[in-house]
């Protein structure tokens, strides 16, 4: 079995009101020096088989077709 982690983040230049709110909340908790905070999503995916090249291609297709909205989001695939 292959275990993979997909990280989806907002593209640069796309406004992230949730990240902004988190940023303010961190400052409110007294964490000084917090710069920009951008929030995103993590997916841990298990895949049958051992072919890592095929897994990577499949995972990228999953991101393009469903897991990420490539209008506003980037993704990174990491195979464990």
């Amino acid at each position: 079995m292959i275990k993979a982690r997909i990280t989806v983040t907002l593209k640069n230049g796309v406004l992230d009101p949730q990240g902004k709110a988190i940023e303010h909340a961190l400052s409110g908790l007294g964490f000084d020096g917090v710069g920009q905070v951008r929030q995103g999503k993590v997916f841990d995916v298990e895949l049958a088989g051992t072919d890592k090249a095929k897994a990577e291609a499949d995972l990228k297709a999953m991101c393009d077709k469903l897991l990420a909205n490539t209008v506003i989001e980037n993704y990174a695939v990491e195979i464990g």
């Binding site: 406004l15 009101p17 949730q18 077709k65 469903l66 209008v71 506003i72």
Partner: protein, 222 residues
């Protein structure tokens, strides 16, 4: 003129849409379920608002990949009119039938209020019963209506007159870029908008500003 309403689990404005289409056209619309692969021969397909699939992953993301949306895309390609309201708009952008994306409101709050809309293009099937520049009222109720498109897409939408509804008089409720409330596809037969015109169609609603949209689309005399 015949219409159909797409039903998906988690939508909650489907009854409103069915009631509006029935009252305005005099005929109950056909209904199609998420797993249906064929849509009856109709002139207008409406995708109502709500929270399809609990807004999981992204609003409209799961719904957009259901079999019925392939059927909607086929109909749209043949020129059938499609209107998506609120979650319906989110589903249309996720399905790639309209450009851009709908993000979390800039206030991070769910907004439920009445806004004003400017008709920025009255030369579409959906807006032909309005005057260019006319200001109408419409309810909004959403958490993710903050329209975004990259600069190139935005320039194309603005240049081609694909922005048909804009929040007017400082009533932008969600931070939407260029105050965009509703857009049409390049061929003009697919409309997506965050406001709910189906909820302002008769005196009991407190006004009927939304009625002309459906009358225009269905070719019904006012």
């Amino acid at each position: 003129m015949k219409s159909a309403v797409v039903l998906l689990p988690g939508l909650n404005r489907d009854r409103d849409m069915i009631a509006a289409l029935t009252k305005i056209s005099g005929h109950a619309p056909a209904t199609v379920w998420q797993t249906d692969t064929e849509i009856p021969d109709v002139d207008l397909i409406a995708i109502p608002g709500g929270f399809s699939f609990g807004d999981y992953l992204r609003c409209g993301a799961i719904a957009a990949r259901m079999p019925v949306m392939r059927a909607v895309a086929e109909k749209a390609a043949k020129g059938v009119m499609v209107v998506g309201v609120c979650n319906g708009f989110q589903i249309l952008v996720e399905a790639g039938l309209l450009p851009g994306a709908l993000m979390r409101n800039s206030s991070l709050k769910f907004v439920c209020r009445q806004v004003k809309l400017e008709i920025t293009n009255a030369n579409t099937m959906f807006t032909r019963r309005y005057q260019p520049g006319q200001i109408i009222r419409s309810p909004v109720a959403h958490h993710d209506g903050n329209y975004f498109a990259d600069a190139e897409t935005l320039a194309r939408l603005e240049g081609e007159g694909q922005v048909v509804f804009r929040y007017a008089e400082g009533t932008n409720p969600n931070g939407s870029i260029n105050d965009i409330a509703g857009i049409v596809s390049d061929k003009g037969n697919v409309l997506g908008l965050m406001p709910h015109p189906e909820n302002l169609i008769e005196a009991a609603h407190g006004g009927s500003d939304g009625r002309a949209l459906f009358e225009g689309a269905l070719g019904i005399a006012a």
